[in-house]
Point group: C2
Chain length 445, copies 2
C-alpha cells in the first residue's frame, strides 16, 4: 500500500497533545504543586439543567421499544435543525433547513470539508492560526499561504492584492488571538472571495461570546456571503459541549462552484452546489449524531436553555475580564478578552512563547498555550483562556501579580532550580500596559 505521504509532512504531535505531555511530566515530577490549566480551551462549568433534563428524557426513550430511535438522518433531526434556523432568523438571517448539517463538532467538519476540495487549490490561513486549518491541508498536500495577523492590524488581516486564494479560513472571534472582525472587514473578505471564486470557511465557534451588537456573529450578515461562505458553529464553548460533542455547519445552496471536467458529468449544469456534495460526503462517511446528543443540543436553543447558557457565557466573560484587568495591572499587553474567551498576551521581557510557557509552569504552575504553537506570528505571544473556574482564574491571576509585580522570594533550599529570569524580570509600567491593552482591544474589534 502506498501511503498518503503528505501525512509525513505534518508535525508528529498536535500542539495540545504536546502541551498535555509537558504538563503531565511536570505534574509527575512535582506532585505537590497545584497546577492551574488555562491552556487548552476546555470548559469547566457543567451542562445546563435544561440540557441534563433533555438527555435524561432521551435516554429513557431509548430504553423503550415504542420510542427507541435507530439510525437518524445523517444531516440531523428536523427538531434540531428547525431550532438552528430559528436562531439565525433572530439575527435576521434566513437559512433553509437543508442548509444545516448537524455534526459531532466543528473540528470534524472543518477538517472533513477539505474532502470536497481539489489538491490543487491555494489555501489562505491566518498566522497565527488554529492548527487544524493548516494540518488538514498539509495532509492533502495543498499549498498554504499565510495572511499576516499582527499587532499592527489588530490580528485582523485583510485581503492583500496580488494573492489569488481559492480557500480562505477566517475565525472570528479568533482562536487564538481573541480578535473579532468588524462588518467592514468581513465585507472586504466576502467581496474578495466573490471576485476570486474563492470559498471562505468561516469558523464561528466563539460567536456566542460577542456581546457588542455592532460586531457580526455570522458571516451571513454580510451581503453575498451565501454565495461564497461555509459557516462552522459549535456548542462546545456556547453550551459546554466539549465532552458532549455537537456542532453544526451551514452550507448555503447559493454556494456554487464551477465544474471543469464537463465530459465526466451527468449533470446538466457547469456549476455544482457544495451543499449537495457535502450531503453526499456526510451520507457516505458519517452516520449522524446520537439522538440523545441532538436532544441535548435542541434544549440549548429553547428559551430556558438560552437563558441558562447565557449565565455560563457571562461567567466565562467575567473570567476574561479578571484576566484582562490583571494584565493591565501587571503591565502585560494583550488582545482579545472582551468579545472572546481568549486573552492573547505579549510575553513580557521579550521572552519567547515556549520560554514563557516553561517560566509560568515552573514558577507559578499556570499552564497557557505558547503563541508560537499557532504560527510564526505567534512567537512572543501567549494564549490564556477564560474557561477555568472563577477560583482558579482568580488564583492564577494572584500568582501572576505575585510573579510580575512583587519580586519572588528567593527559594530557601540551596539546590533550588528557580529560573534565574524569575528574579531578574524587568516589568513595564502598569499604566503603559493598561493603555496598550485598551488600544489593542479596540484595534482587535
Amino acid at each position: 500500500m502506498r501511503l498518503n505521504e503528505n501525512y509525513l509532512n505534518v508535525k508528529e504531535s498536535y500542539l495540545f497533545s504536546e502541551i498535555a505531555k509537558k504538563v503531565n511530566d511536570y505534574a509527575a515530577q512535582n506532585p505537590d504543586k497545584k497546577i492551574i490549566r488555562m491552556g487548552i480551551g476546555d470548559v469547566t462549568l457543567p451542562l445546563a439543567p435544561v440540557v441534563i433534563e433533555a438527555m435524561h428524557k432521551a435516554v429513557d426513550e431509548m430504553g423503550v421499544k415504542e420510542s427507541f430511535r435507530g439510525y437518524g438522518p445523517e444531516q440531523g433531526y428536523d427538531f434540531l435543525r428547525e431550532k438552528i434556523v430559528a436562531y439565525y432568523k433572530e439575527n435576521t438571517i434566513r437559512i433553509d433547513m437543508d442548509e444545516v448539517f448537524i455534526s459531532d463538532g466543528a473540528k470534524s467538519d472543518v477538517g472533513n470539508i477539505t474532502d470536497l476540495f481539489d489538491k490543487d487549490n491555494l489555501v489562505l490561513v491566518p498566522d497565527p492560526v488554529y492548527p487544524v486549518y493548516v494540518d488538514t491541508n498539509i495532509m492533502n498536500g495543498r499549498k498554504i499561504e499565510y495572511m499576516q495577523a499582527k499587532a499592527s492590524n489588530g490580528f485582523c488581516p485583510l485581503p492583500v492584492s496580488g494573492t489569488k486564494a481559492d480557500v480562505i479560513y477566517l475565525c472570528s472571534p479568533n482562536n487564538p488571538t481573541g480578535a473579532v472582525f468588524t462588518t467592514e472587514q468581513l465585507k472586504a473578505w466576502v467581496d474578495y472571495a466573490l471576485k476570486n471564486d474563492a470559498v471562505i470557511l468561516f469558523d464561528a465557534a466563539y460567536e456566542a461570546f460577542i456581546g457588542d451588537p455592532s460586531l457580526p456573529r455570522s458571516i451571513y450578515e454580510i451581503d453575498g456571503a451565501k454565495r461564497c461562505a461555509i459557516e462552522f458553529c459549535s456548542l462546545s464553548k456556547t453550551a459546554g459541549f466539549t465532552g458532549t460533542r455537537c456542532g453544526y455547519t451551514i452550507v448555503p445552496k447559493d454556494l456554487k462552484v464551477k465544474v471543469s471536467k464537463l465530459k465526466l458529468l451527468k449533470i446538466d449544469s457547469d456549476v455544482v452546489q457544495l451543499n449537495k456534495l457535502w450531503l453526499r460526503r456526510q451520507t457516505t462517511k458519517f452516520n449522524g449524531v446520537a439522538y440523545i446528543i441532538q436532544r441535548a443540543a435542541e434544549a440549548v436553543f429553547t428559551p430556558e436553555g438560552r437563558a441558562q447558557i447565557k449565565e455560563n457565557i457571562d461567567y466565562y466573560k467575567e473570567n476574561a475580564k479578571i484576566i484582562a484587568d490583571t494584565m493591565d495591572e501587571v503591565g502585560i499587553k494583550y488582545f482579545g478578552g472582551i468579545n472572546s474567551p481568549y486573552i492573547w498576551l505579549e510575553c513580557p521581557n521579550n521572552m519567547r512563547s515556549w520560554e514563557f510557557f516553561d517560566y509560568l509552569l515552573e514558577n507559578i504552575n499556570v499552564v497557557g498555550t505558547p503563541g508560537a504553537g499557532f504560527g510564526a506570528n505567534g512567537e512572543g505571544y501567549f494564549r490564556l483562556t477564560a474557561f477555568s473556574d472563577r477560583e482558579s482564574t482568580i488564583e492564577a491571576m494572584e500568582r501572576f501579580k505575585e510573579l510580575f509585580i512583587r519580586k519572588p522570594e528567593p527559594e530557601q533550599e540551596p539546590e533550588s532550580e528557580a529560573e534565574p529570569d524569575a528574579t531578574e524580570l524587568v516589568i513595564e509600567e502598569p499604566a503603559a500596559g493598561a493603555e496598550t491593552g485598551t488600544e489593542a482591544e479596540s484595534d482587535a474589534e
Copy 2:
C-alpha cells in the same frame, strides 16, 4: 476554488436514501397500507437496561461541576478501551490499549481511514459490496477492482493470482450477503496481503452474530494479520447503537508501511506505523466520542451488559431463522441467515432486483434492499434483514407465503393496479428451494 471532481463520479444518491425516497413516496400515495421495513439494516429493540442505567449516571455526572467532563482523549477513554482489550483477550487475541480507537461508528472510520492512503493504490472490493467501500474510494479517485462474490464461491471470494491489490476490503459476516469467511479463507487473504504489502480493511461490524465457534470473529485470529490488517467494529448491531453511535477500530502497531519519499522525512526509519498516522488523523480531524456515549458503550462490555445484548442478538437471529425457514417453505434460494442478520435471496422467477423491490412493495408492502444496489453481482438478488421486530417479521413472512404459495385473490375494483406478474408467478417447488437453501448456507460459511 477547484472542486475535488472525483465527487462528481459518485452516484448522486446513496442507496439507502434512494430506497427511503421510494418508500416514502409509496407511503404518501398509499396512507392506508402497513409497510414492513426490512430494507436498511436498522435495529428495533431498545437499548439494554444496563446501557440506559449507565447513561443516566453519566448524564448526572455531566450536570455537576465536580464530575463534569470536557474534552476527552481523542482515542477514547481508558475505561472503554480496557474493556475492548479484555473482550479480545477472551478470544485469545492480545491487543494493546493504544491500538484501540473509539469512534462514532464503523462507517465513519471505514470512510476516513482512506485519508491515509495515496490516490495511487489499487483497491480491491467485493462485488456485491457495502457501497461505502466503493464510494469513499471514488471520492479520492482511486482505481477499484472487484473480486467476484457469487453463488458459486458462496459469496466468499478468494485471492486471484495476477491481481496485485494494495488495499483490500473484507466484510465478514458479510453485508449484504450474510456469508462468513472460514479461518482458511481468511488465512488465504492474510497471506496474500503480507506477500503483496497490501492492507486489509476488515469490517467486523457483524461479528457478534457468529454463533459457530469454528468461524473467526476477528481477523486477528489469523497469524500475521496484525502486520497487514485494520479491524472495524461497531456497537450498532451488537448492542443496538445505530442511533447512539459508537464503534471502535483496531490499528495494530505491527502494521507498518514502507515509505518512499525518504528525502522528505524526519523519521529515522523507512517504514511508518499506520497506528501513529491514524492517531494523527483522529487528533486533527476528530474530537472523540461523547463521554455519555462512551459510558454507554462501556456498559455493553460488562457481564450484565453482555448477557443483555446476547438476548437481543438471539432475538434477531431467531428472526433470521423465521425468514430462512419461510424462504425454504416458499422455495426461494438464499444465502446467510445463520451467523448473520442478513438473508440474501435470489429473486424468484428471474426478476431483477429493483423489479422485485417494486413487486414486494406494491404487492405485500414489504421493503427490502435490491441486491443490484450493492454491485453487478447483486443483480437478481435481494437482501432482507432480521432486525425488524418479531411480529413484523412474522407478518412479512406470512405475506411472503401468501404471495408466493397461494395465488393472490384478484382485486375487486376494475381500476385495479395489481401487478400482472403477481398472478403469473411460477413458483419453484418448496422442496428444491429448501435443499438449495441448506446448500447455500454451508457454501457461505
